[in-house]
């Protein structure tokens, strides 16, 4: 399937990535290459083969339901640009 410049701009917007028109053209060319590869792979007959969600055939390791973390707020907040009353402060979000 062919990718358009609108698709690129839309994905960039959803991912909150700023692209200039020139960059968008470049990204379109690279992404189209990847899509071409996918199209090639789709030609392989996979009838009867269960799809995998991951490249490696492994399953999840689970942990027991116990609290293992201690409070490290002070340490973590040393790298935060702004905090108050234990909260991280961010530019106001209005919905």
């Amino acid at each position: 399937m062919a990718l358009s410049i609108e698709d690129v701009n839309r994905v960039a917007h959803l991912a909150r990535i700023e692209v200039t028109p020139a960059e968008a053209q470049d990204v379109l060319r690279k992404l189209s290459g990847i899509f071409g590869l996918i199209e090639d792979m789709r030609r392989v007959d996979t009838t009867g083969i269960a799809p995998m969600s991951h490249a490696a055939d492994v399953s999840l390791a689970l942990r027991e339901d116990v609290v293992t973390e201690i409070d490290q707020r002070e340490l973590f907040q040393t790298v935060a640009p702004a905090t108050a009353d234990g909260l991280y402060l961010v530019p106001q979000v209005i919905e």
Partner: protein
């Protein structure tokens, strides 16, 4: 045109694990901001999520409880969106292959015997993590972010669009709420947000096959709001279509203050979450052995327990339903019944052993638990698990009443003393200390009176029951054992005389009227009081109905059903109810009938009224 309402619910149940779904941080509610946010929850670079076995196990439990398919392999996916309380920029959820698929929930729509059963199909239930919290106030144009909640495990339970009214939606939500608590999946605390619903609502002309365009109402965290939000949204959609408009698919938020729903996001910003399998998390594999282990550790289901209570203890469907409202209640009941039956079987001559003693004990236990005990629990706002009267205590009390030592009325007095922790909450010790043995022989009472002054008071109290305790009730509440003093007014005298003539008894709670009560009364009952003195609440049918009496200078009286119940609960909530011990009222059915007919006349009157000249309506009665 006739419209059909179509509703599907998405419910987020917070799983009752102690740690988060992908980190070892605590999930305890109410901690100081960000003290339970680990490096994983903050999405610091280089961290990896490791799923919590306890969360998966609860999902399996849920799937088994609703008869669903447990997928042997399910996949965690990234749901991508940007919001400051979601530090990773994506939420880990499940998309194409959830852990639980299908299943059904049987709901009961309608009240009591009128209830109709309906089977609601479930689409799926999947595991996901919660986001943090944004605080928009007070930070000088900044937003405060608390990430304690980030990573809390959730089970999102999605129903098919099988619900056809707000009532059905509420019945479904309540049934689901009971189920997740029953199986220890979720603590069900709606105030803390542990159980919250989104409703997908659409309407279509009756008979039409295709669904109408739906709107999703977000974050309904109480059953009452859910009902009002759905009703508002249904009205809005019908009016919109009937006015020639079209429903636009959108997400709406319910505003309880204005009682309306309004759009949350505009169409242009419609979400595109770009789900894809999370590369950090390989598939979740659940083997048969694990499912079997979970299954074997599951408690008896609520429905099965209800059916068993009906057959094993010969209880009515209604009683069985009340007793199986929670596992704790069911367990409490069985413990009381077991202990009381065992104790009674060792008392010679305590009833006909052939006449199913268990059924008798069970019925009595059921009455106590659904009546006195739940009223006390409600008033004190505690759950049955934290009940100050343990099953063994209630069982001993039951043995005293069933064995003939205590009348029901005295048993209630003993229960109150047990609740208060008197004499180590031991009913026998309380009976002994208060001298409460039931004495039916007048000579014995006389003898008892002479023996000790302490017992004399108790005996005197018992006698008042026979000699017109109405005198006391209209006087100064709490001034015990002093009948006849401090009385004045025609009304009270009439009350005394009436009470003396009555024949059966029940206990009455008295409530001194405060200015706030007066406002409540005016509001709820549209009654104006000049100088109210006393309010009496007479429990009838264990709070199902209450006979309510207000005494002012002229002595007013009114009989109410559900309104009174609502009102009484409101007073309980406001901590205004003082239950006075030891009042006895007696009821003459003929008098009750007479009063009812007079009340009918009163009810037919104007909204604002002052009725009854002194002596015209006289006294309250209880115990229908």
């Amino acid at each position: 045109m006739k419209w059909e309402v179509v509703i599907g619910l998405e419910t987020h149940a917070q799983l009752s694990t102690v740690s988060k779904i992908f980190s070892g941080a605590s999930t305890a509610f109410g901690a100081a901001p960000n003290t339970q946010a680990s490096a994983v929850d903050l999405a610091l670079p280089g961290v990896l999520p490791v799923p919590n076995k306890g969360a998966v196990e609860r999902a399996i439990r849920f799937g088994l409880a609703v008869g669903a398919i447990i997928n042997r392999q399910s996949v965690f996916a990234r749901k991508n969106y940007f919001y400051p309380d979601l530090p990773k920029g994506y939420q880990i959820s499940q998309y194409e292959i959830p852990v639980v698929q299908g299943g059904t929930l049987t709901i009961h729509v309608g009240q009591g015997d009128q209830a109709v059963e309906k089977v609601v199909r479930l689409t799926r239930a999947h595991l996901e993590e919660d986001a943090g919290k944004s605080l928009h106030e007070d930070y000088h144009g900044m937003t405060g972010i608390d990430l304690n909640r980030a990573g809390t495990p959730l089970l999102e339970i999605v129903s098919e669009p099988d619900l056809r009214s707000a009532d059905e939606a509420i019945a479904y939500a309540k049934q689901l709420h009971e189920l997740v608590q029953w199986h220890g999946i979720c603590d069900g605390n709606m105030q803390e947000g542990s159980f919250r619903c989104d409703a997908n609502v659409s309407v279509r002309p009756a008979g039409q096959k295709e669904y109408g365009t739906r709107c999703e109402i977000k974050n309904l965290n109480s059953f009452r709001f859910m009902e009002k939000a759905i009703e508002y949204e249904v009205r809005r959609q019908i009016e919109l279509i009937e006015d020639g408009g079209r429903v636009v698919q959108e997400t709406r938020l319910y505003d309880p203050d204005k009682d309306e729903t309004r759009p949350m996001r505009s169409k242009e910003d419609a979400m595109d979450y770009r789900y894809f399998p999370d590369p950090d998390l390989p598939p979740l594999v659940i083997d048969d052995a694990w499912i079997e282990r979970v299954r074997s550790a599951m408690p008896e289901t609520q429905e099965a327990q209800k059916a068993r209570f009906m057959s094993q203890y010969s209880l009515s469907a209604y009683d069985a339903r009340l007793l199986t409202a929670s596992r704790a209640t069911g367990g409490y009941f069985e413990e009381v019944a077991r202990l009381a039956a065992a104790a009674l079987s060792t008392i010679p001559g305590s009833g006909d052993p052939a006449a199913s003693p268990l059924a008798g004990v069970a019925k009595a236990a059921s009455n106590w638990i659904s009546g006195e005990l739940s009223a006390a629990l409600n008033a004190a706002n505690v759950g049955i698990a934290a009940c100050p009267v343990p099953p063994a205590g209630l069982a001993r009390l039951l043995v005293l009443t069933l064995g003939g030592t205590l009348s029901n009325k005295l048993a209630k007095e003993v229960f109150a003393a047990m609740w208060a922790g008197e004499n180590g909450s031991d009913p026998a010790a309380i009976v002994a200390a208060r001298g409460l043995q039931q004495i039916s022989d007048a000579g014995a009472i006389e003898k008892d009176r002479r023996r000790s002054p302490g017992r004399q008071r108790a005996a005197g109290r018992r006698l008042q029951g026979r000699q017109g305790e109405g005198v006391q009730l209209a006087g100064r509440p709490g001034h015990e054992g002093d009948p006849g003093q401090g009385q004045s007014g025609t009304g009270q005298r009439v009350a005394a005389e009436e009470a003396g003539r009555l024949t059966s008894r029940d206990r009455v709670a008295t409530l001194p009227l405060l200015p706030l009560d007066r406002q409540c009364l005016a509001h709820h009952l549209r009654l104006q009081f000049a100088e109210p003195r006393l309010l009496l609440l007479v429990p009838v049918d264990h709070l199902q109905r209450l006979l309510v009496l207000f005494l002012d200078q002229r002595m007013l009286l009114r009989y109410l059903g559900d309104d009174a119940r609502q009102f009484a609960f409101e007073l309980f909530r406001n901590r205004l109810l003082f239950v006075e011990q030891g009042f006895t009222l007696q009821v003459d059915p003929a008098l009750l009938q007479r009063l009812d007919s007079r009340l009918g006349a009163v009810d037919a009157g104007a909204d604002q009224r002052q009725v009854a000249a002194p002596g015209e309506i006289d006294v309250v009665l209880g115990g229908v």
